[in-house]
């Protein structure tokens, strides 16, 4: 299995090297956003107002972290289910977001849009929240503080592990992985 060490923001070249099923280790900045932040962000953009965070080349992590214990930057922080963010994903792709990290299936519409906009969908291991938080060096709220765990945070990560699910060629690591073990007709 291929492992790519990447630094955000991502450019087209870096994204083009990724294939469904590859592992990545992310370094640099990730922006957190889940349900409520997506709703507010996309409403802001649709009114023509500026985004509170940079979007071009950026990677968004679908997570609502646990509170930071004393002396740590963040609490356990595993991925949440990505499909709930499908209705908000196209406007973000149109503004140049290059990667999304979460877990679970995406809609056909999002899969096609990822190909069109040359962006990738990555999965982090759900339920490995404590281990994943160890790769987060720092965290600060940069927008929507009133949303609590759902606020947008800027995370600085080191070797944050994820698996490429959807690449820019239409590859699907879930489909391909499951096919080998499916015993139903």
């Amino acid at each position: 299995m291929k492992v790519h060490v990447l630094t955000t923001p991502l450019d087209d070249e870096a994204v083009a090297r990724l294939r469904a099923g590859d592992m990545v280790r992310l370094n640099g900045i990730l922006y957190t956003a889940r349900d409520a932040a997506h709703k507010r962000l996309v409403e802001t953009l649709s009114r023509g107002e500026p985004s509170p965070i940079p979007l071009a080349g950026q990677v968004i992590y679908y997570v609502g972290p646990a509170p930071a214990p004393p002396g740590r930057p963040i609490g356990p922080a595993g991925p949440t289910t990505s499909g709930r963010m499908d209705p908000y994903t196209l406007p973000l792709l149109e503004r140049g977001v290059k990667g999304f990290i979460g877990k679970g299936y995406r809609s056909d519409e999002v899969k096609a849009a990822l190909v069109r906009h040359r962006a990738v969908y990555l999965a982090a291991v759900g339920g490995a929240a404590v281990l994943l938080a160890q790769h987060i060096v720092s965290a600060r709220v940069v927008a929507y503080e009133d949303l609590g765990t759902e606020a947008i945070r800027e995370l600085v990560v080191r070797d944050f592990p994820a698996i490429v699910v959807h690449d820019i060629y239409g590859g699907d690591a879930y489909l391909e992985g499951q096919r080998a073990f499916r015993q139903h007709p």
Binding site: M1, A36, V63, G64, P65, A66, P67, P69, G75, P76, A77, G78, T80, T81, G83, R84, K103, G104, Y105, A123, V125, G126, G127, A128, A129, V130, L131, A133, L147, G148, T149, I163, A173, Y174, E176, G177, Q178, R179, A180, F181, R182, Q183, H184
Partner: protein, 279 residues
């Protein structure tokens, strides 16, 4: 003979129980996960199971929640009919226990499904009461993550759907859930009752320790058959393919109406937070 139990005592016990569930996954689950590691045919699947075991050990050692989603607190209270709660407001005590236990945990509860304001302290819990003979109180909790909860389903099947209809619905639910429910999952199945109770049966099925079967032989056989059918889906750990999609299928059944075959499937993720205590 009436036994008095102070609400303060119940509150202390419940706070400790909720915390224990958040920081420490049940032994029976960890044992089942270790066995699953030996059984899993996919290399990535085995790696993911190892990560889950490492994560559980680290969470317990550092007293951190195993998953950031510590869910809604679902509290089951079996109260002996000879018990009298004294010394304060029982419901306020339950809320206070949740408030206290969730202080270091994520607050995931909103006040209203439309307004969606976070209550800020993870209250209220969901509470199920049952009056039973005797003078004990059995407290069981689930810290139910909503990734798996969101993939759960309920159907009012007609009797003609029969056992085949039930099997199809259960397998279909796990298939649709795929990686969203964080497999390997535990599948709680409720059969019978009415619209409102079949979901509760499915949830109660998740309270049962792994490695136990329904005492009714035909339902125990159904559990085994469903487990094999679900694992034949090939979804595998985190949906990347494999032979272990579910660790167990638990079925709970109840009497129902001549017109109906209600079925509910409540999924639990690979971080099944569960604990119980007897007062």
């Amino acid at each position: 003979m009436v036994r008095e139990i102070s609400v303060a005592h119940l509150q202390r016990k419940l706070t400790a129980l909720l915390s224990e569930a958040a920081y420490r996954l049940p032994d029976d689950y960890l044992k089942a996960l270790q066995e699953a590691h030996r059984r899993e045919a996919a290399v990535l699947g085995r790696d993911i199971i190892t990560l889950l075991l490492d994560n559980a050990a680290l969470a317990e050692a550092e007293r951190l929640p195993t998953c950031q989603d510590t869910g809604m607190a679902i509290i089951f209270l079996e109260v002996g009919q000879d018990v009298h709660f004294v010394g304060g407001d029982l419901h306020a005590a339950l809320n206070e226990a949740v408030r206290e236990a969730y202080r270091p945990l994520r607050k995931s509860v909103i006040d209203d499904p439309i307004r969606r304001q976070n209550t800020g302290d993870n209250t209220p819990p969901i509470v199920h009461w049952e009056i039973v003979p005797g003078h004990h109180v059995r407290v069981r909790v689930l810290l139910k993550g909503f990734g798996a909860e969101m993939m759960s389903r309920l159907a009012m099947l007609p009797p003609a759907a029969g056992l085949e209809g039930v099997k199809r619905f259960v397998v279909e639910t796990v298939e649709q859930a795929g990686p969203n429910a964080c497999p390997p999952v535990i599948v709680g199945v409720g059969l019978g009752g009415s619209f409102d109770t079949v979901g509760l049966l499915a949830k109660k099925a998740l309270l049962r320790p792994l490695g136990t079967s329904n005492p009714e032989p035909h339902l125990a056989a159904l559990e085994q058959e469903l487990l094999e059918a679900v694992n034949a889906l090939g979804i595998g750990p985190q949906g990347f393919g494999g032979t272990v999609t579910a660790l167990a299928v638990h079925v709970e059944a109840a009497p129902t109406h001549i017109a109906a075959l209600p079925v509910a499937v409540n999924l639990n993720c690979s971080a099944p937070r569960r604990a119980e205590v007897l007062l």
